[in-house]
Symmetry: C2
Subunit: 466 residues, 2 copies
Amino acid sequence: MADLKKLFYPSSIAVVGASRNPKKIGHLILKNLIEYGYKSRIYPVNPAADEVLGLKAYPSVSSIPEPVDVVVVSVPAPKVPEVIEDAGKAGAKFAVIISSGFKEVGNVELEKKVVETARKYGMRVLGPNIFGYVYTPSRINATFGPRDVIPGGVAFITQSGALGIALMGTTIMEGIGVSAIISIGNKADLDDADFLEFFENDPNTNIVLIYLEGITNGRRFVEAASRVTIKKPIVVIKSGRTEAGARAAASHTGSLAGNIAFYETAFKQSGILFAKSVEEAFDWVKALTWNPLPNSDRIVVITNGGGAGVQASDTLADNGLLLQKPPKNLVEEIRKFVPPFASLANPIDLTGMAPTDWYYKAVYAALNDPDVDSIVVLYCHTALTHPVEVADAIMNAVKDSGGLKKPMTVALIGGVEAYEGIKKLTQAKIPAYPTPERAAAAMAAIHRYVKYREYVTKRLSYLGGS
Amino acid sequence: MADLKKLFYPSSIAVVGASRNPKKIGHLILKNLIEYGYKSRIYPVNPAADEVLGLKAYPSVSSIPEPVDVVVVSVPAPKVPEVIEDAGKAGAKFAVIISSGFKEVGNVELEKKVVETARKYGMRVLGPNIFGYVYTPSRINATFGPRDVIPGGVAFITQSGALGIALMGTTIMEGIGVSAIISIGNKADLDDADFLEFFENDPNTNIVLIYLEGITNGRRFVEAASRVTIKKPIVVIKSGRTEAGARAAASHTGSLAGNIAFYETAFKQSGILFAKSVEEAFDWVKALTWNPLPNSDRIVVITNGGGAGVQASDTLADNGLLLQKPPKNLVEEIRKFVPPFASLANPIDLTGMAPTDWYYKAVYAALNDPDVDSIVVLYCHTALTHPVEVADAIMNAVKDSGGLKKPMTVALIGGVEAYEGIKKLTQAKIPAYPTPERAAAAMAAIHRYVKYREYVTKRLSYLGGS
């Protein structure tokens, strides 16, 4: 098992290829590193400059006055071995190799040489062919992606470069806080399993999201993932889920994306939540990272539109979750203020005439009913209410209940005003979506994870395991 | 077959229950009608007012100096029969009954009475229990939903009220132009089939979207839908797709949502595109209303990120669409400017270093290659380019090709900047999405529709039919 402590909590980081040209990747990485607020020592390495971005530059890693923990390398591929040799000699612990031009374009030998050189000095390698890495607890943003990633509980490992950078931007827009972002690239040395082992015990991470193209050591991956999912959920987007997709992946990465059935089985066995799309994955991650876990699956759906309620019921049923009768006390509570024709089966329909304070009362009642395990709140924008006021009502119900003690997802359906409401809920870390199906599917992901965990925990205790 | 001409092209519209109180539904409808710009005569009916919103008010429909074509009724349910009686006597042709409190709450007799009264005078009824209707070619917005619906080719029929109004807002936000929005409610008289018959021959409508809870006359619906789908696509969201959802629908509308297998068969037979979610439906509608139809299914995917390309390949494969080798000429054209390691199989990977003008060149080449039937363009936001500039490049390629002569969908993946680009493309009526899977699924819907239509057209010509 790789000890990644010094990668995530380094005392010093060197950036080799830290150009003064603001268009160069080495420059962009150094800039992010400085501006995102990494507090320890940063050393630009550039033989042609005395200083870069206000920091004294060094001609080589070995000329830096201390052995650095992390060396970020952004120089042309053929020059990488000598940089690694020099860094290794100088006692560096991790090489984060941004440079491309290795196995992904057929240069297998060059990649091998780099890893062998690093090994010689006990140095571990992340990459090559990556956009860098982020660890927010240490204020490290050593990427050429967006700067202002939001600190939070999601560790995101991505094998895809361009898509990974784009999704960094998505996390910011969606208000999803991350602990780490790892561009894992060619995985010449460190791979998913190594990082899973770290995140398993990382108190700053409460969920792991992986964009996976392929794994070389399937057994090790399954073992690591199975240990993690006992403690925290893993969501995986598997590139090349279909034969056709796998062929596309093969022509992209040069390595076969592998047997599809194998991955499906592996994911199932290790309790991984398998997302078919980027959107699905992010929807689930938002629900999982901000919510506590439910005790059981007595879900209540609250709506002001029958149609929205039915859509949510359909989606829950697609996921094997059938709505049960809502608890009697809750029904009695809600009966007090809704019109007599309101259907209080599950979904609980507050009717289209529901003002914002009915949302407050209904959500408050559901949050405080011990026989409700989780809540899906749906709101259709009508002429009577403003989505932002409904968002406020929901937030107040949560606040007055002392915070979220059971999971909740919300859908605000409508136009731009609904989006404003979604934004507001998101800022308050209440997962909100623009359609009933997405809110229901995200809740279903939570329940699927809990069911898996219960099953495994029981089996482990039966076997006398942990 | 109902002749709906005067409903959509009325010479005059009366609004019964046109209150001066700005919170009342009758007021909101009158206001929308005036402000959205209906150019013919509008008569507020209100026995307690001389004028409403600057228009002379009348105490009853029969006191209006001409027989009106459309009477919009927003008075309490028990008062509806007398309004209908009076309007019928006065020669009104259509009653649009907004009022609720009929069959949906068990008042079956009251609803029957209303329809019988209308029939007596040859008047047809839309509703009751609806939020109104829109027909943009006549600048009619007789709803209490959002005012500024965008004129365009989508006819939207919705059985759900609150969800329907909310989705009106969604059309505006997503820039989706509509010809009509029909809140169909209890369908006491006019039903989906009547409107399908109108939209079949309506030159202002190029696609029909239906939110369907249930149908009473299945055979008539299938016949009408089958005729429409030869000319233009129909997308249906069926509420209560699952047993559980159907039960929820039953408790909401009081009527069973019906046998699920029946609907699936009916949709398949009539060439309806069956969407599982609101988002899916809107994604498909956007792609179908703005695009021409492809000749065949030689789809080309263009991307700057291998991962995004694989995701799209997977989604296309889910829909039975397998990417073929791209045409030789296109590959040669693109080979001229991309780096040698770029994978030019399908997906065509411009690589992460692609500047905006590579997008221009690649999209232009694909648009003008006779062996390309449709194009899915994917872009991951990287440090090198701005999504809005990429959107511009794509728009310019379309413009310089003389407009879209084959279908295209686009995904711009990233953060807020990507959303800006999506907005810009959308304004130019190029369907754009935030994820590769949604762009691919929307393209797949186009190809599924074309396949169905080809099959039916061949069968019809073989049978000697039209």
